[in-house]
């Protein structure tokens, strides 16, 4: 599913600079899919998808009304909108706007990857590995873990979506890749 979506992008909107980069990333890993994933060693995550400033618009969410000295705002949410895919991410994790801008870019990279690569996206791979590590513990522990995971499912999903800025690494359940397609 992710590949057709990429191909369906309006060609004019897709920045030419990323096309080759995308292909290089997508095609090799895509070949080994879909339901057949050999986990790579932990240190060897797929490289981040390059994200060019021309691919998205950035807004600082601030109410209308006066700024400057007249108001002393504490939150400085940064919102990015990826033009080719329409993915929107928002980050207000820290008090530093500069930091939020960086985090928002990373979050956007992750979301785009999840959409484009599905099962082989960094975040999904990370999440899966995390759970595989857990699963490899003894039978007893596994049963216990499953129980927990069942109970927490609802919360997990919310966490993935709302956890602006965090990689969501510790979240999510092994076999579910569909957290990836959730976009703001």
């Amino acid at each position: 599913m992710p590949l057709p979506r990429i191909l369906a992008l309006p060609p004019l909107l897709r920045p030419p600079t990323t096309t080759s980069a995308l292909r290089n990333h997508i095609l090799p890993s895509h070949a080994s899919r879909p339901f057949h994933i050999t986990p790579r060693p932990l240190a060897n995550l797929p490289p981040r998808r390059p994200l060019f400033e021309s691919e998205f618009t950035e807004t600082f969410l601030r109410g209308s009304g006066p700024g400057g000295q007249k108001i002393n705002k504490t939150s400085c949410a940064v919102q990015l909108k990826h033009l080719p895919t329409g993915i929107v991410v928002k980050c207000q994790e820290t008090r530093s706007r500069a930091q939020n801008r960086k985090l928002a870019r990373r979050l956007l990279q992750d979301r785009i990857e999840e959409m484009e690569l599905g099962e082989s996206a960094r975040t999904v791979v990370k999440r899966r590995r995390e759970s595989e590590r857990k699963r490899s513990r003894g039978k007893k522990a596994r049963r216990k873990y499953r129980k927990l995971a069942e109970g927490e499912k609802g919360e997990d999903e919310e966490g993935v979506e709302e956890g602006g800025g965090s990689d969501g690494e510790a979240l999510g359940e092994a076999t579910r890749g569909d957290g990836a397609s959730k976009v703001g």
Binding site: T57, E58, T59, F60, R62, P66, G67, G68, Q69, K70, I71, N72, K73, T74, S75, C76, A77, Q92, R95, S96, R97, A98, Q99
Partner: protein, 442 residues
């Protein structure tokens, strides 16, 4: 202020019992949740430090106390003790204005140009008038030295308030330790009252800028002048500032002193004329002045245009580097000055001579026809029979690293006529901002 709906308060309470109290100052749930998270992190940090020193801390009690302070309107930055200004963390204290993100955006934008600028002098000199926490010099140095092999940087921050200067010195020391880039710059702070007539007899209180520069053997010439002065008129102060600003931040930093003869608007604008006079006096090639809104930007821009010494005047918005999304949103289309970025108008930028080059701009059609060095000769409105500024030439020579002859030549050609600017005899003891000068009537 509209009352918060009970349903919202209930929802907030269900999420966390501390949240309803924070909804007062924050107004929306998301902001309240953020602030609560930051307050908790702060309390954890304090507890951690306390433990390292062998003590203990009742976290719940401290959190409760801090949430209480915030609920009564105290700015979060005073409670936590810091604010981020670009990538520099600035310490904040009661009695000194909290730096604003919008200011940081303008400074970073200016420095971005300068980092790519051709033909910078071997020492770039930046004067920041009304420096407050010292945030502008520190961010300037941080951003400027982010890349390697820049020219030397000399930045002087000036303020009238002792409290501000103390905090600025503290911030300088703190940032130098944390950030090697800032340590490279020659940054210092100086007390002066920039509204004071430099030629008036003065016996007490902070000296005028020129006197202070002389006393400290500082250079009289500066390449760039930046200022975020008090710019809110008394009426706007009551009408448009938030409760937390009015109740907790110093009025000295926000509202210019009263002027018996002037209107409300004139009082709000009171710093710009002295600032522009100083800019001319120190031969600034780039001047960046923060303003409250588009109306004030236009008033300042017109005043600058009347001076007829700058090659370009621009207005920058809150996000000066952003491109307006649609033509309809773009206020620049029919403005008398080019407007850059999105958001409210935030700064007026003027440049001339080398400054125009550094910014890689082309002189605008309104620009004076002559080069800045001999502009004033052509300016009918500058009367030459006023008082010559009495630069101490020996100090000038000692303190100024650049060729002496070039400097004296220029300063002779650009006499600053204080009487003309201020409408006051140069020796008058009264503050020279008290009367509107007759500028622009030819």
């Amino acid at each position: 202020m509209p009352r918060l709906p009970t349903s919202l308060l209930r929802r907030a309470y269900a999420l966390d019992p501390y949240l309803p109290a924070l909804l007062g100052p924050c107004r929306d749930l998301c902001a309240a949740q953020n602030e609560l998270r930051w307050l908790r992190e702060h309390v954890d940090g304090v507890a951690e430090k306390r433990r390292a020193r062998g003590g203990t801390l009742a976290r719940a009690a401290l959190l409760r106390e801090l949430v209480g302070k915030r609920a009564r309107g105290m700015p979060l930055q005073y409670i936590l003790g810091t604010e981020w200004f670009g990538e520099v963390e600035i310490r904040c204290r009661k009695g000194v204005l909290i730096p604003r993100q919008d200011t940081a955006a303008s400074i970073s934008h200016l420095v971005r140009f300068l980092r790519d600028a051709p033909n910078l002098p071997s020492e770039l000199r930046v004067l920041d008038l009304c420096t407050g926490t010292g945030c502008i010099p520190l961010l300037f140095a941080h951003d400027f030295y982010d890349a390697s092999s820049r020219p030397d940087l000399r930045i002087l921050g000036v303020d009238v308030s002792e409290k501000a200067l103390e905090l600025a010195a503290h911030n300088l020391e703190r940032t130098r330790k944390a950030q090697a880039s800032v340590a490279k710059g020659n940054i210092s702070f100086l007390q002066a009252d920039i509204l004071l007539n430099p030629f008036a007899d003065q016996t007490e209180g902070p000296p005028s800028l020129k006197t202070a520069l002389n006393l400290k053997r500082m250079p009289q010439f500066w390449d760039i002048l930046i200022s975020n002065p008090p710019y809110i008129s008394p009426k706007e102060y009551w009408k448009t500032t938030t409760r937390s600003v009015r109740g907790f931040e110093p009025k000295l930093a926000l509202v210019p002193p009263p002027d018996a003869a002037g209107t409300d608007t004139e009082q709000g604008d009171a710093f710009y004329r002295p600032l522009l006079t100083i800019a001319q006096d120190v031969e600034a090639k780039i001047v960046l002045l923060e303003i409250a809104d588009l109306d004030q930007a236009l008033r300042v821009g017109r005043r600058v245009r009347e001076m007829d010494i700058y090659d370009g005047i621009e207005i920058w918005c809150d996000q000066p580097d952003a491109h307006p999304n649609t033509a309809a949103e773009d206020p620049a289309s029919d403005s008398e000055f080019p407007i850059f970025g999105t958001g409210n108008a935030r700064t007026v930028l003027c440049h001339r001579g080398q400054g125009t080059q550094w910014l890689q701009r082309t002189p605008s059609p309104h620009a004076p026809t002559s080069t800045p060095a001999d502009t004033t000769e052509d300016c009918a409105h500058i009367s030459h029979d006023g008082l010559e500024p009495s630069f101490d030439k020996t100090l000038l020579h000692a303190g100024d690293g650049r060729p002496f002859h070039e400097r004296t030549l220029k300063s002779r050609k650009e006499p600053v006529d204080w009487e003309h600017w201020t409408g006051k005899p140069a020796n008058a003891a009264a503050p020279w901002y008290t009367k509107e000068p007759r500028l622009g009537r030819r």
